[in-house]
């Protein structure tokens, strides 16, 4: 294996055996299927996909918490299944919405405790805790019990925990989940600063926030139903759609008109629907701008009013729609109803 690779997976698969009642035959859930990826050292790599796509399962395999059922994975040069003891000192992980640590301990004490599990000298750990907390704007909360922290501050503490051990490869699983706009921005800025200072540091980030992936990642893999559908830089992914004309239309309720009906029109490539208050938001991908007139005539037939119309540049969301056929929100609600 090349030493420039921080992460490498080949035909990685994971099947969960679901536990049912004894009479039932055991069901299987394919969480990962034939995932082959490479992440260079120093790269900020994003895994983008809806809930249930397999992002967290992939992170669990890469962090040695779960063995794959097929294929293999190497992190920091070591096999995650056969050499977990070589992988573990070099990695760390932070998950969004986690409640790790102990509420009775202060922020500093919790962070110190976790640093000791990695063998960090106590004094150096305390110095770095202070500095990292200052960076995320939490130095004044250093002696606050973690049970007294807000969700956002708690997540910042978790983020500091992940960075504190100075890992070669850091896994962030939805790190800004549930955070307000300001806190999310602070976290993103911190991530960028951390990576800038050492070219050997690698970060794998999972998110279902398209903007986050677009803003942060050097490369993005779009994952759905356990499969990697595309992997490239955000701009290269968007370039795929550059030839299409993209419109976003807000309308009154659709009165039975479906995205499929719109897609049946000539030169209408994709129509993705998001329900909004009092109506619908449609993202249209058209081969020619003139196709918009055909969509509008459908609206007229169904007595649908157009409230807003914007021509726009393609986003990663559009790439997802192009690859999956549905928006991420639709995919998630579909998964929930199936589950």
């Amino acid at each position: 294996m090349s030493t420039t690779l921080a992460i490498e997976t080949k035909n990685l698969g994971r099947i969960y055996k679901l536990r049912g009642s004894k009479k039932e035959t055991r069901k299987e859930l394919v969480a990962l299927q034939d995932v082959s990826l490479t992440v260079q050292r120093g790269e900020l790599f994003g895994l983008l996909g809806p809930n249930g796509a397999g992002k967290t399962t992939l992170i669990k395999v890469l962090t040695t918490l779960l063995s794959p059922t097929s294929g293999w994975a190497r992190v920091a040069g070591a096999d995650v299944q056969r050499e977990p003891d070589l992988v573990r000192p070099r990695i760390n992980m932070v998950s969004g919405g986690e409640s790790s640590g102990y509420g009775l301990l202060t922020v500093r004490e919790n962070l110190w405790m976790f640093s000791q599990f990695y063998g960090v000298p106590s004094q150096e750990a305390n110095e770095r805790i202070e500095a990292l907390l200052e960076m995320v704007g939490m130095k004044d909360r250093m002696h606050t019990k973690s049970s007294d922290l807000s969700t956002g501050l708690r997540q910042k503490m978790n983020i500091v925990r992940g960075f504190l051990t100075d890992p070669e490869v850091l896994f962030l699983d939805e790190p800004t989940l549930g955070l307000d706009v300001g806190a999310s921005r602070d976290v993103r800025r911190f991530i960028i600063d951390w990576l800038k200072t050492d070219k050997e540091r690698t970060l794998l980030l999972t998110t279902h926030y398209m903007v986050e992936a677009d803003e942060l990642c050097d490369r993005v893999a779009i994952i759905n139903k356990g499969r990697v559908l595309a992997c490239d830089t955000p701009s290269a992914l968007k370039q795929r759609l550059q030839k299409d004309v993209m419109f976003e239309v807000e309308t009154s309720p659709l009165n039975g008109l479906t995205p499929q009906m719109m897609e049946e029109q000539p030169e209408v490539k994709k129509a993705a629907l998001t329900e909004i208050e009092g109506g619908a938001r449609l993202k249209l991908s058209l081969v020619e701008e003139s196709a918009l007139a055909r969509v509008f005539s459908l609206f007229a037939q169904k007595d649908i009013k157009v409230m807003n119309l914007n021509k726009r540049q393609p986003t990663l969301e559009d790439v997802f729609v192009e690859l999956v056929g549905r928006s991420m929100a639709e995919e998630e609600s579909n998964e929930q109803s199936a589950g």
Binding site: K60, T64, L65, D85, R88, P89, S100, Y102, G119, M135
Partner: protein, 289 residues
């Protein structure tokens, strides 16, 4: 130090070293013991639940024994039993369920993923629990002895120390073993512990000498290390304690030493199994699946 300097220091300077091997093992034990020793003392309610409540039980037994005109040694037995109850409750409800709660909180995955040994985590929990509970036990002993005028006459400090230490190692070894079992079997194991609590209180002789029980009942109850530990300590600290002893102190020391080895080894094997299952099936570290 301004923000920029803090940032530079935090991000640019690598650690001088990261300990591995036995140093990491010891660091992990101390770090995991810390929340129990320091954190738990911050919850002042322990005075009510761990000192005042057990004292109420002690007072009840003392009043009953005095009403029945039981031998005065029984008062000392009750005070000692009241103190040792704290350790048993700590092992049964705190130590045993700890890994389960660590899973629910999301800590377990972080512990497994870290380069430390999971055995060090368990030992840290045990050490922390033992030291934190010792404070409660000492409080009960002091209060009970002062209230009821209990006097002690230690016949052998060495043997007393050996019995206490071995009883603690065996008891917390058992707790470590149960922690893995609770995690594996989830709520079923919890119910078993709940079911066993009162019969064990009776059979282990927390408030009376187990010699009063039929031999085989007392022998069966001796699987709980505190049963033999308390019996030996009572023989060693009360002048007429030997006459109430179940078996000789020397034999009890040998049995406790055997139990210590057995329970700690079983805990290690069971923990390795739990870790293996966790990675293979992915359900043990996952509170939602």
């Amino acid at each position: 130090m301004n923000n920029q300097q803090a940032r530079d220091r935090a991000l640019n300077r690598p650690y001088s070293r990261k300990d591995t091997g036995w140093r990491l093992f010891l660091k992990t034990i101390i770090a995991r013991a810390y929340p129990r020793i320091i954190g738990q003392q911050r919850e002042i309610s322990w005075v009510v639940f761990d000192v005042i409540m057990p004292m109420l039980a002690v007072i009840s037994y003392v009043l009953v024994y005095r009403a029945l005109k039981a031998p005065e040694e029984y008062i000392g037995f009750v005070v000692m039993g009241g103190a040792m109850t704290a350790f048993w409750m700590n092992v049964l409800w705190s130590m045993s369920s700890q890994l389960y709660w660590e899973k629910e909180q999301g800590n377990l995955a972080l512990y497994i993923m870290a380069p430390n040994s999971m055995m060090a985590i368990l030992l840290g929990m045990a050490l922390g629990g033992m030291l934190a509970t010792a404070m409660r036990a000492v409080a009960v002993i002091l209060l009970g002895s002062l209230m009821f005028g209990v006097t002690y006459e230690v016949s052998s400090f060495m043997q007393l120390l050996a019995v206490f230490m071995l009883a603690m190692i065996a008891l917390y070894g058992m707790g470590m073993m149960m922690a893995s079992a609770f995690l594996l079997f989830g709520r079923e194991a919890w119910h078993m512990a709940n079911l066993a609590q009162e019969p064990i209180f009776l059979a282990s002789g927390f408030y009376f000498p187990i010699k009063s029980l039929p031999f085989w009942v007392a022998a069966g109850a001796s699987i709980i290390p505190l049963t033999l530990g308390m019996d030996a300590m009572r023989q060693l600290v009360f002048p007429s304690g030997f006459s109430y002893g179940f078996i000789s102190v020397s034999l009890e020391i040998i049995l406790l030493a055997g139990m210590s080895v057995l329970f700690v080894a079983a805990a290690k094997v069971l923990l390795a199994y739990v870790e293996k299952i966790a990675v293979r099936e992915g359900r043990i570290t996952e509170s939602r699946r």
